[in-house]
Symmetry: C2
């Protein structure tokens, strides 16, 4: 994994500086012309509603943001391109300024990767020169929004599946192009999946990868193929090699007799494919059962190959189904595994993992995860990657202070108002470690104390309420200080473990996927007073 | 644009070879072990249902596929990674084979970028060595599926908007990470949008880019700022420079008197922001009106700056609204433009473009595009990029022949059956150029002749029907032959024009967005006979 990070770091930044909306560049020129390019500014990146109608989100994408910020530097070609779309009489000093920009004056505080995140709590606080931190808006939103969305989606799917089922992300082909796929694979793992089909996510991000064979492999065999070398040595390497094709043929007869099938019924091409795969992967043989008929072809062919391998000391890693009623078929197959295990005295066969896939969404996953299900591994593509229930997160990046003065957007749409000023955020916990509420306050206020009562303002409330937290956790960590990484980022696997641990401290009422309880994010009295005083001035 | 292509071509491939599902690599080893790595194979990439419940799709992504294929080459690090996840005793010859792979034996036929595409008609036919063309499955699906989805989505939005409204794609921050955004911007332009906010899409793909200013720019000004240089020369450069802040102040008084507002009402920070922007972009000034109050602040401030600029010979490029009832506000603003134009004898003001944005979906777009709407420019983000009505296309890549023999997937799910054999595809047209139906036939059959009756089989039909096309167009063009590009790819703008032309030949009944007529894709008698004979053999 360290090597993986290294390859990634060497390979490229997470995004290029010009991966930004043009208006960031036009505003940059505006700030420049107004003499404000280097004025100190702070933006907050947050969301206003949890995705999918849920009550929580997972913060993700920070590692990509850090990689992007540390590598941030416009190249000559980038500046030339901007010059080509900006007014021809633009001050050349502006382009020199752009060319010299880097993030050495940028400071970022952030919710650690995998944290529980709630509406209004900043995922990122970005401070630095106004022109620069404005330019960063779009790439940071692009890097955080989808990562957090897909991590949250994966966490929901994990909650539905329960802790035991293995979840495989396999949505690369349904993603929004190459990096869409890479982002999806990385952050669905962070959110609670076990592995991904995406090989690049394995290489670059250290995500465990998985995969065996597809229908095209099976249907590419007619049965007339002769393996150039059908001989297989025993698993222990002790004893003579065996012609696997011969052994499979013998086992097929026994299996067909037991299952009351004609030995001609199982498709010879499918069997040839299974034999070819088993010769390449004797320790990792999986049968894809539904290219022809599951019960009359796929299953007997699988059993013949699996039992032939077993004679040599190998155990198959499973079977896979990709069509039909997956729950019902898994039950039937498990039943057959049990009778065949008894018949041939191969007890390991009873517990051969059954993997399923085929457009599995939250509803179908709940069915597959129900009590008594014989499904062990669930592959999910489209539903995890595209987040069809809500395919975007709606993060925003809002100016909260400039030149040391708090700023607040006072639009006619109260929904779109922002909270002014540089802020700190705390999580208030009960004595059992469960979450009570999140508190936003001004950065200069002293942190709340455990065991001490404090007055807080829920949004929209007419008066404050009181809370006495047993524990207090600061939420935002200093991540980049003047461009320098303050502490090593946790590995992806560590962030994944942190996400699962965080979720375990969330009251079940907030984890309900439909109509959950709403977790409160409240304001300190001082922050509320600032909001009131800026609002009282009115929009004018 | 030629430079753009060059930068892109030099910069990187569209995707890396390991951006693939692991099972492609495990199957590769299976083919290798079976001695079949170099067997001739052909796959077809197609979709089974048009997206969004519509009756057509646009083919897109070919340029990325070509770029990917021409650069295809596994690096040492890639092969090492694969070795780390494959069995440790794998034949080293396999890895040597992988390391030496390129697409010099791959031939691709394709629907040209921007073509109308219908279910079952191949977007790509990919032939070459079995192991290699199998490895290509996932990246090709990844590159084609989302590109075609978003191009189709953009074409639908264009149909709703009509030809006159300008459509701006601005969804980068809502896309699935960096390349998700780049793909979205590129192919929504192809599908009929006019421009994108995505600067990188401008630099790398030649997409026209657009953008002016955001609320953060406006709210970053308090009004106390003093521009270092408030002087502006006239548009013609003839005559003295003018202090824009002074001129704006004078105009503000006149405008407020006319609008019956107190001169203190319009927000001074907003006005300072407009002045700063106008100083940077005197020829491209746009006012973002809704940071505070549209009618009591944004509009009078805009008018003051626009009229001050106009005195110097500059014309503003428009106003933008990002909240509230966009249609109603546009109407009010147009009305005010008219009275102010009359009052101050500035007729150009009547037709200043009104741009709108704010979560615009198909329904809201229809409202904004209705007869009498005063909206001119429509910015769409989430709805075009995430395709929320159906966020994935469901393209598949299926084996149709191997070793010269047709292959067909005969699953228990008839939906998932495939059409066997190497095929040709034709579009049959009426004498007025309108589309009748698409015909799939075996590659070896003579092409259908214009004016000649032929028997064809609609899917699921019990008997053939007859058709006499006035014109016949072959659909698939040879794109790569043994790895060599056969003809230069059209530019993105050419493909965009081709898409609009293709759509104009589609009968309106097929273009309805809800419950459209279903366009038929039929089979030749020979192809149907092959399907029947392979089916008759049954799954076994």
């Amino acid at each position: 994994s360290e090597m993986a990070e290294q390859v990634d770091g060497e390979g490229r930044a997470a995004a290029r500086p010009l991966l930004t909306d043009l208006y960031q560049a036009t505003m940059a020129l505006g700030y420049w012309r107004a003499g404000r390019a280097r004025e100190a500014a702070e933006f907050e990146l947050f969301f206003r509603h949890c995705p999918f109608g849920g009550s929580f989100a997972l913060a993700a994408g920070l590692r990509d943001c850090v990689r992007f910020l540390r590598a941030f530097q416009l190249q000559d070609a980038d500046v030339h391109f901007l010059a080509s779309v900006l007014p021809p009489d633009t001050d050349p000093g502006f382009f020199e300024h752009l060319r010299a920009l880097d993030c050495s004056e940028v400071t970022v505080r952030a919710l650690p990767e995998g944290s529980l995140a709630f509406p209004g709590v900043p995922l990122l606080q970005v401070s630095g020169p106004l022109l620069l931190v404005q330019l960063l808006e779009t790439p940071l939103l692009c890097l955080v929004s989808y990562a957090s969305l897909v991590a949250t989606n994966a966490a929901r799917l994990r909650l539905i599946a329960g802790p035991e089922k293995k979840l495989l992300e396999m949505g690369l082909r349904r993603a929004q192009g190459p990096d869409g796929g890479l982002t999806a694979s990385t952050y669905s793992y962070l959110g609670g999946f076990d592995s991904s089909s995406n090989t690049l996510a394995g290489q670059l991000r250290g995500v465990p990868v998985a995969g065996t064979l597809a229908h095209s492999f099976v249907t590419s065999f007619s049965g007339s193929e002769v393996p150039p070398n059908p001989m297989l040595a025993p698993a222990t390497s002790e004893g003579p090699t065996v012609d696997l094709t011969v052994s499979v043929k013998l086992w097929l007869e026994r299996v067909c007799t037991h299952l009351e099938l004609e030995v001609q019924e199982p498709h010879p091409g499918e069997r040839a494919a299974f034999v070819a795969y088993a010769l390449a992967f004797p320790r990792a043989f999986q049968g894809l059962l539904d290219s022809y008929s599951v019960l009359r072809s796929g299953l007997p062919n699988f059993l013949a190959v699996a039992l032939a391998l077993a004679e040599l000391g190998y155990r198959p890693v499973g079977v896979r189904l990709d069509s039909g009623d997956l729950l019902q078929q898994a039950k039937e197959i498990r039943g057959i595994f049990r009778t065949v295990a008894a018949q041939f005295q191969v007890p390991w066969l009873e517990s051969v993992p059954i993997a399923v896939s085929n457009n599995i969404d939250e509803k179908e996953l709940a069915r597959l995860a129900q009590e008594g299900s014989e499904v062990n591994i669930i592959g999910i593509g489209t539903s995890v990657v595209t987040c069809p229930q809500q395919p975007s997160m709606g993060c925003v990046y809002k100016l909260v202070s400039v030149g040391g003065q708090p700023r607040m957007k006072l639009t006619e749409d109260p929904e779109k108002q922002t909270l002014p000023g540089s802020k700190a955020a705390f999580r208030l916990l009960a004595s059992d470690g469960s979450l009570l509420l999140d508190l936003l306050q001004l950065a200069e206020e002293p942190p709340p104390q455990a065991g001490q009562e404090l007055k807080v303002w829920p949004p929209g409330a007419q008066e404050p309420c009181t809370v006495r937290p047993a524990q207090v956790e600061p939420l935002l960590r200093l991540c980049l200080q003047q461009g320098q990484l303050c502490e090593p980022l946790p590995s992806l696997a560590e962030s994944r473990a942190f996400a699962q641990k965080s979720l375990s401290h969330l009251n079940p009422a907030y984890k309900q996927l439909q109509s959950p309880a709403v977790y409160q994010v409240v304001r300190s009295e001082k922050l509320q007073a600032l909001v009131n005083s800026l609002s009282a001035r009115g929009p004018l």
